[in-house]
């Protein structure tokens, strides 16, 4: 009798740990069946999904670190827009590819440093401070061109940061893989990652353990900004355009991906692999819904519901612990 009860608990624990993978499979199966013959379950569409989610995943890697400390960054969407715009303007003015990339990534670093300063030094609640920064960044993006796009004619740039392939492998997949591997190593296998999780788990204890908590909190924001800056370049390369509205509302999707992947909003627990799977799942759902014929409004509603479910599930897990 008792033996069975124990087994049930054990099973439940395993199920919890692998929920995201199971959910991922279920979504695949669901679309594979409902969209049979409509081109969902093809290699071409799979690559398509990856191209669409690469930038989101890269942002997710950065955000996983922030959320792991118990913070949040709501400015990543507008950072992406500004970064793409700056990269495009640099190219238009005759700058080379490297300069354009550095410009885009640099914008991300600057926004990240700003967020980091407010979060770590001034101890503002990240939720509000990054929301304010988001508005400022978006406004700055409007200044040079209003919201009109700046086209990018440099095909090499467009290839490296967007539409290119290396053999059969889309270049965006390589960017994404690089970010995920880097993020995973940092979070799981390096001192820095341990310290990030310690700060999120119990900031006072972390401080008493000799961790410079301010530095850690500054660095997560800086890194997140950098990732958003790079994601901006990828948007620019994929769309052959820079535009400040790129990335608008991307926060919701990115947060959903991160939370689906098992990172907990209150901090202390995070997983980059989870973020990868979560983001891919979000990409797949968007893709599937488009093929199904849902319009933008309907898609937004579905995404919002998924985010709520993901957070609710995360809280449930926290209570279990």
């Amino acid at each position: 009798m008792r033996y069975r009860a124990m087994n049930k608990k054990e099973i439940l624990r395993v199920v919890r740990e692998y929920t995201i993978y199971i959910a991922f499979l279920l979504v695949v199966i669901f679309f594979a069946i409902t969209l049979r013959g409509k081109g969902f379950f093809t290699a071409a569409n799979a690559l398509n999904i990856i191209r669409q989610t690469a930038a989101l995943t890269i942002m997710g890697v950065g955000l996983t670190f922030v959320i792991s400390t118990g913070g949040i960054d709501l400015s990543i969407g507008s950072t992406v827009g500004l970064s793409s715009l700056i990269a495009a303007i640099i190219l238009r003015e005759g700058g080379n590819i490297l300069l354009a990339f550095l410009g885009g990534a640099g914008i991300g670093l600057m926004v990240g440093a700003c967020n980091g300063f407010l979060y770590a030094k001034l101890k503002m609640p990240a939720f509000i401070s990054t929301l304010a920064v988001s508005g400022i960044v978006y406004g700055i993006g409007l200044l040079p061109t209003q919201s009109s796009p700046v086209p990018i004619a440099d095909t090499l740039f467009n290839n490296i940061f967007g539409s290119g392939n290396i053999g059969p492998v889309p270049i965006l997949l390589i960017w994404m893989a690089a970010a995920v591997v880097l993020g995973h190593l940092m979070l799981r296998h390096m001192k820095y990652g341990r310290q990030v999780l310690a700060v999120g788990g119990n900031e006072i204890s972390a401080k008493y353990s000799g961790i410079n908590t301010e530095k850690i909190k500054f660095l997560v924001m800086l890194f997140c900004g950098l990732m958003a800056g790079i994601a901006g370049c990828l948007y620019a390369g994929r769309m052959h355009t820079g535009r400040c509205t790129f990335g608008e509302g991307a926060e919701t999707q990115v947060i959903t991906g991160v939370v689906l992947g098992g990172t907990i909003m209150s901090g202390g627990k995070g997983s980059i692999i989870g973020t990868l799977i979560g983001s891919l799942m979000i990409g797949m759902i968007s893709n599937g819904l488009v093929i199904m014929g849902l319009n933008v409004a309907q898609q937004k509603i579905v995404q919002g519901i998924i985010l709520l479910l993901a957070i609710a599930f995360g809280i449930e897990q926290e209570r279990e612990a």
């Binding site: 008792r2 124990m6 608990k9 054990e10 190593l185 296998h189 390096m190 001192k191 341990r194 310290q195 999780l197 310690a198 788990g201 119990n202 006072i204 204890s205 972390a206 401080k207 008493y208 353990s209 000799g210 961790i211 410079n212 202390g268 627990k269 612990a321």
Partner: protein, 500 residues
């Protein structure tokens, strides 16, 4: 013979297949204080949480006044008149005293809105009944640990209890506060309330308890009137064999001519630490005694860079150094084992392994990567050395028993191999066997050249471990005595109170 007030029969409980309680029979009579004793991880808290409905027993029955009752959750327990003060404080620090006392059963007006005035008045009445003056409108975070304890008791009393469980209520209290608590307990007896009292401090047990029950390896090994069991019998019941190591002072030799490992000059922090100077020599164990609020903790925090002192110089091995953050202190080989493990010492939902390794990440790093196997070897060594009871090193520390959590805090800093160790109440909640073990470890480390500062409110422990004792009062150093010149506990007690 009258029926016992409470009877727990054949209680069994296991967690994830690991059996914690194996067939426990436990009784409480009317108007009685029962001591529930046992080593860390013996299952005391678990048994009490079953009584209080936090956990469900796998098997077994509970009788109140001879009638069988089902206790499915904490609310059920409350209805049956069972209240509990948890080992881990459960107050919400951002709410007021009154709000905490009536949490989840707030007095309401007829229109269903909260009746704040009644809430404050009723709270005041309960606190007055306990003979304690606390303003019920104060936020809990403003109260000292001792007062929080009393608020916890008031909270239990607000629900009409017949049996009050106190799980290590004194482990964070000073001797004086403990006296106050005992007054309250005696008062409770007069109100016809029985008390189950858990503590690792022998002296207290004999002071307040009528009967002693000892739990070991999930079984009751003895239950008898306190007056009938001598103290050393209790100890051997708890540890399961006669203790080979003794809990007593051993004179040690070291040189006070050497360059001090740590020298503090004119340290001042607000009103809390005033012009404190002292030296700590290599191989020395320096005890710091004092009442709560005497500035012991603040002194350590200032040395460790967690408080920014207004004045003062710190020298390590004769070199003046600027310590502005814990990192700087750690670079000088200083370690601080803080007093409140849940808040400052541990990341509760991380594993034992992660907690121990957080201070040694630099030492197990190669090319930026953490070497897992080497890390695990360190953790294993620590678990063995302090006999930490855990199924495996990946268990979350919040699932360990209270005393074992404290051992994790200590081992986290021992793993770091610092040369100047500062311990703030390191043995709070640790069982007698492990306490002795810790004291031996300190001596061993000192013999190897470490310098140790040991802060404790338990005088017998301070006298057992220290070579020299500083006495602080109101932030000032009032005495500095060699251990060999101290006759007994009374002498130290008087010094602490500030008598000459």
């Amino acid at each position: 013979m009258a029926k016992p007030l409470l009877e727990m029969k054949g209680i069994k409980k296991s967690f994830n297949g690991v059996s914690v309680l194996k067939d426990v029979d436990f009784q409480v009579n009317r108007r009685e204080v029962v001591a529930l004793m046992g080593g860390n991880g013996a299952g005391k808290s678990t048994l009490m949480k079953i009584l209080n409905g936090v956990y469900q027993a796998d098997e077994g029955e509970i009788f109140l006044d001879g009638e069988k009752v089902e206790i499915r959750n904490v609310l059920d327990a409350g209805k049956h008149g069972i209240g509990m003060i948890y080992q881990e404080f459960s107050l919400i620090s951002t709410l007021t005293v009154a709000e905490n006392i009536f949490l989840a059963h707030e007095p309401r007006k007829r229109n269903m809105l909260l009746d704040n005035r009644a809430c404050v008045e009723k709270a005041k009445k309960i606190l007055d009944g306990l003979g304690i003056e606390i303003d019920p409108r104060k936020k809990v975070e403003e109260l000292s640990v001792g007062y929080r304890q009393i608020v916890e008791i008031a909270k239990a009393l607000s629900k009409n209890v017949k049996i009050l469980v106190m799980d290590e209520p004194t482990s964070a209290l000073t001797e004086h506060e403990t006296e106050t608590l005992f007054e309250i307990v005696r008062n409770l007896l007069k109100m016809d309330i029985s008390v189950i009292f858990i503590s690792h401090r022998m002296k207290e047990i004999y002071q307040i308890c009528d009967r002693i029950t000892v739990l070991r390896d999930g079984k009751i090994v003895i239950s008898d009137e306190a007056s009938k069991i001598p103290m050393d019998h209790i100890v051997s019941y708890i540890v399961g064999s006669a203790m080979d190591k003794k809990f007593e002072w051993i004179p040690r030799s070291y040189s006070m001519e050497a360059t001090p490992a740590l020298e503090v000059r004119n340290l001042t922090y607000r009103e809390r630490v005033r012009d404190v100077s002292f030296s700590l020599y290599p191989s020395e164990i320096l005890g710091i005694a004092g009442l709560m609020g005497s500035g012991r903790t603040e002194t350590l925090l200032s040395v460790f860079g967690l408080l920014k002192p207004d004045a003062g110089v710190i020298l390590v091995n004769g070199q003046e150094c600027r310590i502005q953050a814990p990192e700087d202190a750690m670079k000088q080989g200083i370690a601080l084992i803080p007093e409140s493990r849940r808040v400052q010492g541990l990341v509760m939902d991380h594993s034992v392994k992660e907690n121990v390794l957080i201070t040694v990440l630099d030492k197990i790093r190669k090319y930026g990567f953490l070497k897992d196997r080497q890390g695990e070897a360190i953790v294993e060594e620590q678990i063995r050395n302090l006999d930490i009871k855990t199924d495996h090193m990946k268990k979350n520390v919040c699932l360990l028993s209270g005393g074992n959590q404290q051992k994790v805090v200590i081992s986290k800093w021992l793993a770091n191999k610092s040369t100047i160790l500062m311990l703030d109440e390191p043995t709070a909640g640790v069982d007698i066997g492990a306490k002795t073990e810790i004291i031996y470890r300190m001596r061993e480390l000192a013999d190897q050249g470490c310098a140790v500062i040991f802060v404790s409110s338990e005088l017998n422990e301070l006298l057992a471990v220290s070579d020299r004792i500083l006495v602080l009062k109101d932030g000032r150093k009032i005495q500095e005595i060699m251990r060999k010149d101290i006759e007994g506990e009374e002498v130290l007690q008087r010094a602490i109170q500030g008598y000459e």
